[in-house]
Structures are given as C-alpha cells and as structure tokens.
C-alpha cells in the first residue's frame, strides 16, 4: 500500500515519527475512501452479474423446477441431455450460421457502404444518420416492424410482385427452410449501421497521403483498397468480427418476438432455447446448464480471439504497418 497520489506527504515533511503516524492515518483514510468509492459498484456488480452466473453453474447440476427444494442432484446429466438433444444441437448450428453469415455478408456490405459514405457525396451527413437510424430502435420495435412487413400477402410480398419478382415470395416466417435467413436479413437491417459507423471511424484513420502515394505509384482503385485501405482497417474489422460473433451467439430478442424459435424449432437459438426451457417449462436446472454452455462458448471464443486475433492490435501492428 503506497500513497503515490497524495502530494500532501511531500508538501510538509516534519520529524520522522510524525510522518509515520500521519502515513498510518492517511493509509487508513485511503482505505476508507477506496471502500466508499469501490464498494457500491463492486457490490452491485457481484450481486447482480457475477454471483448469478456462478449460481447458474450450481443449479445446472440439479434437476429442479425453480420452486421446490433443491435436492435432486444429478451431476452433469443436464449437460449430457442438452448436447444429445437434436433441438439444442440445431440451436448451436443456427447461432453459428448467423455468425458465419454476418462475417460473409454483413462485413463486406458494411465495408462497401462505409467506403461509399466516406466519399464526398451530396447529402452524405443525412445518409449517414438515416443508415444508422435502425440501430437506435429497440430489438422489440424492429421485430414488430418486420413481422408486420412480412405478413403473408403483406407489404414485402406486394413490393416483390410489383418489381416482377413474384417468384421470390415465400412464407417468410412460417417456412422452416427460409425463416433463419429471414431473421438474418432483419438483423442485418438493424445492425448494419453500427458496423458502418465503426468502419467510418476506422477510415478516418487512413491517411490520405497513403492513398495518394499508392495512386502515384500507379495502383488502381481496387489495388489501393486491397493493399492500403483494408490492412489499415484491420483493427476495426477485427473488433467488428468479435462483437458480431458474440452478438450472434447471444441472439434472443428479435428471434423470440418474431418466431419464438419456430416453426418446428427452425429458428431456435441457444438463448431462446434457454428461456423456453427455463421460464416456459420451469426446467431451471436444465436451463441453467444451457446458460453455462452458452457462457463457456462465448468465453472460450473471446479468449481464443483475444489470443490469436486481437493481440496483434495491442502490439502496435498499425503503427508498424504505417511506419
């Protein structure tokens, strides 16, 4: 315990014993201050974030409906049940499909749109604000808007027919083969603004001189993009991928409101599976096991990603590349 932040000690320096006493007193005072400053936040964080997650791990070892006594210890049976159930397996696959599609579809789209919005188009500021607007709407409102748009013979179908694309019309939310992709489109509509804003901020960090130098060296627009702009966007892209995968793994609100995971579990995600079993079927032990699995998947992904992808960014890769 040192008190490096208190110049009081150095301001006045009387006899040695007095300093010791004062230091002790100020040490006690500092501890009190720390307890006062940190205590409430720690209490709140532990009480409502850390401990519930820990308790979920505990409950997951029991067969329990959330009401009676917690006495039916079954070890890891809930985990075995979850992993051997086809619905949960498909839920994991659905989460992975959404995460994969995000990287393959949303990312290139966001990069393209960010580059577009970075140009000197007229009305660019308005365009930026509007592209970002869906992101500020809640998931609930987004879901309701699209349920209404996608009603059979509704707005979306009529627009498609009007454009001569009537053959594309589907039971958007009722066809098990389509529903996951419909949801992905809705998610893209809502979140693309977020990616664009991030990438626009990243693009601002690409020095114009570098592009000019590349152009002077005879690089085409595509070559400049590929070899100058994209590498410099690397850190932003890696952060985006991280957030996007974590978000995809935890997907809940939009799916729950639009399909509740249906039809026939075709759009079940790990989170809707968890809420369905926990709160609708009162399988608190089993639901907790699912929660722990979801947490471990997110956590392991975060650790691995941090280790293998993000570390480059914290080691000044950007400055090395520029320099």
């Amino acid at each position: 315990m040192t008190t490096a932040t208190t110049p009081v000690r150095t301001a006045a320096r009387p006899s040695v014993p007095a300093v010791g006493a004062r230091r002790r007193r100020s040490g006690l005072r500092k501890r009190l201050e720390l307890a006062l400053l940190l205590g409430p936040a720690l209490l709140l964080f532990a009480g409502f974030v850390l401990v519930p997650i820990g308790i979920a791990a505990f409950y997951s070892l029991f067969k329990w409906n959330g009401f009676g006594p917690l006495d039916e210890f079954i070890g890891f049976d809930n985990y075995v049940d979850a992993f051997s159930g086809t619905v949960f397996q498909s839920a994991i696959v659905h989460n992975l499909i959404i995460a994969g599609l995000s990287i393959v579809v949303q990312l290139p789209l966001s990069i393209g749109l960010a580059m577009l919005l970075n140009r000197k188009l007229r009305g660019r500021a308005v365009l930026r604000a509007l592209v970002f607007a869906p992101y500020v709407l809640s998931e609930a409102i987004t879901a309701v808007i699209w349920v209404l748009m996608l009603q059979p013979n509704g707005f979306a179908d009529q627009v498609l027919k009007g454009a001569g694309l009537g053959g594309l019309v589907h039971q958007w939310l009722a066809d098990p083969g389509i529903v996951l992709y419909t949801l992905f489109a809705v998610i893209t509509w809502k979140y693309i603004g977020f990616g664009i804003i991030l990438l626009l901020a990243g693009l601002q960090g690409v020095p114009a001189e570098l592009r000019e130098a590349a152009a002077l060296d005879g690089a085409s627009a595509w070559q400049t993009t590929r070899h100058v702009v994209l590498p410099l966007l690397g850190p932003t892209i890696r952060i985006w991928i991280f957030l996007s995968v974590i978000g995809s793994l935890q997907l809940f609100d939009v799916v729950w409101i639009m399909t509740t995971g249906g039809p026939a579990n075709a759009s079940t995600t790990m989170a809707t599976y968890l809420v369905d079993h926990g709160f609708k079927r009162y399988e608190f032990g089993f639901g907790s096991a699912v929660a722990v699995i979801l947490f471990v998947i997110c956590f392991v992904f975060a650790l691995l990603y941090q280790r293998f992808a993000l570390r480059r960014d914290t080691q000044g890769a950007l400055t090395r590349m520029v320099g």
Binding site: M1, A41, L42, A133
Partner: protein
Amino acid sequence: MRSRRFGLSVGYLAAIVVLGVTVVPLLFVVLGGFRSNAQLNNDPAGLPGPWISDNYASVLSSGSFWTFLGNSALIAVIATGVAVGLGSMAGYALSRYQFKGREGLYTLFTLGLLFPLTVATLPLYLWLRQLGMLESFWGVAIPEAAFSLPVTIVILRPFMHAIPGEIEDAAVLDGASRLGFFWRILLPLSTPALTTVAVLAFVTSWNAYLLPLLVFNDSAHFTLPLGVATFQSQYSQDTARVLAFTALSMIPALAFFVLAERRIVGGLTGSVKG
C-alpha cells in the same frame, strides 16, 4: 476523369438503394398508421387514401402508450443514474488510486463486457423473486445498472487517468481532499465521457426487452419494448392500430438519437477502442 464521374454515379445509385432499404420500413409503419385495415389489406404497399387519424388518436388517448412510455423513462433514468454514479466512483478509484489488486479488479469489470444477461437470467430471476423485486421498477433498473457498469468503467477509467496529475496536485495544495478533488474538479472535467456513458446506459435500458419480460406480469408496469411486442400479439388482427402504436413508440428513440447522435457514435467507437 470519366471513371471518377462513373464512380460517383454508382455511388449515388448505391446510396439510393441503401436509403430505400433503411427508410422504407420506417415509412411503411408511419404511413400505415394513417390507413385503415381495409386499405392495408387491399394494397399493403399503398399510400393513405384517405388519410385516417383514428389509429393514432386511439393509441394516444388509450393511456397504455403513455404508461409504457413513463415506465421506460423512469426505469432508464434510475438505471442510468445508478450506473453512472457508481461507475464514476469506481472509475476514479481504479484510475487515480494506487492499491494492491487494482488491475485485477479492473480486469474483473472488463470481463463483465462478456457476460450476457441471458446467461444470468434464470438465477437473476430467482434472486429478484427472493428479494421481492418482481413487478418492481427497481427489479429491472438495478440489474440493468449492474450490467451497464463494465462499459461505463471501461470508458471512464482511461479518460480519468488521462487528466494531468498537475491539476490534482494543484487542487491538493489548495486544500482539497481526494474526495473533494473528485467531486469538484474531476467530475466536471469528465463531463464529455460522463455524457457518453450516460447515453449508452440510457439507450441500453430503454431498449431492454428480456429483463422487463421476466420481471413484469402486470401490464401496468410494462416498458415500451415489452408493450410494443405485447400490443402486436394482442391486436394482431388490427394491423393499422399496431402500426400506429409502433410508429409512436419509435419517436422517443429516434428523437433521442437526433439529439445525442455524436455521443452515441462517439461512445460506440470510443468503447470499442477501449
């Protein structure tokens, strides 16, 4: 030169497409609220003709919309106040005090960025039930504040850390205690970062769906997102009224966004860069 002009026109074309995809659903909702169900059934993508204001009028006079709006506002204000208040205190301690375990504590809070509410939701529900906080605004606001703490601290700590030590020395020489320095100098200097975290906490709480869904059974306590989703399933036959209700529910978020755009965007990019 020609290729540049070509690039620009492609740019404008793409811009128009993007604009259409973004804005048309919003326009559909707003304009749909001015139509009747018969109009919507005959021609889902048409314009109002004649314009009907009954749907909006009935939603605005029904009371439930205002109840949901008030509940959302109350919960968001409490959650934001608690998150920013406790977060700034913790941020101060973690940025300008030296003590053992400081980095460990900070890492613990940053780990919280990874903890999804979904994972904690079952025990959290039981915990709130035990504390008698079901059906209570606190039962939603307090956990939301707790889950907002990580991002609050992650943004505030570097900001507070960057405020020069000379200012602190000067304050101390002028007789300020450490807590006095925090209250009278550091907090005012941190206004930009505080605004950012406040906006983020507010928006998170405002948009939350899962927690209110679990905590509230009584529709008198519903928040706007919960209310919109419930209203939609309740009145699914009366599409025009659902559209009007949804359109009105979008207004606060969009208005807030227009007012706080810089803060929201700055907070997002800032929080990501950590």
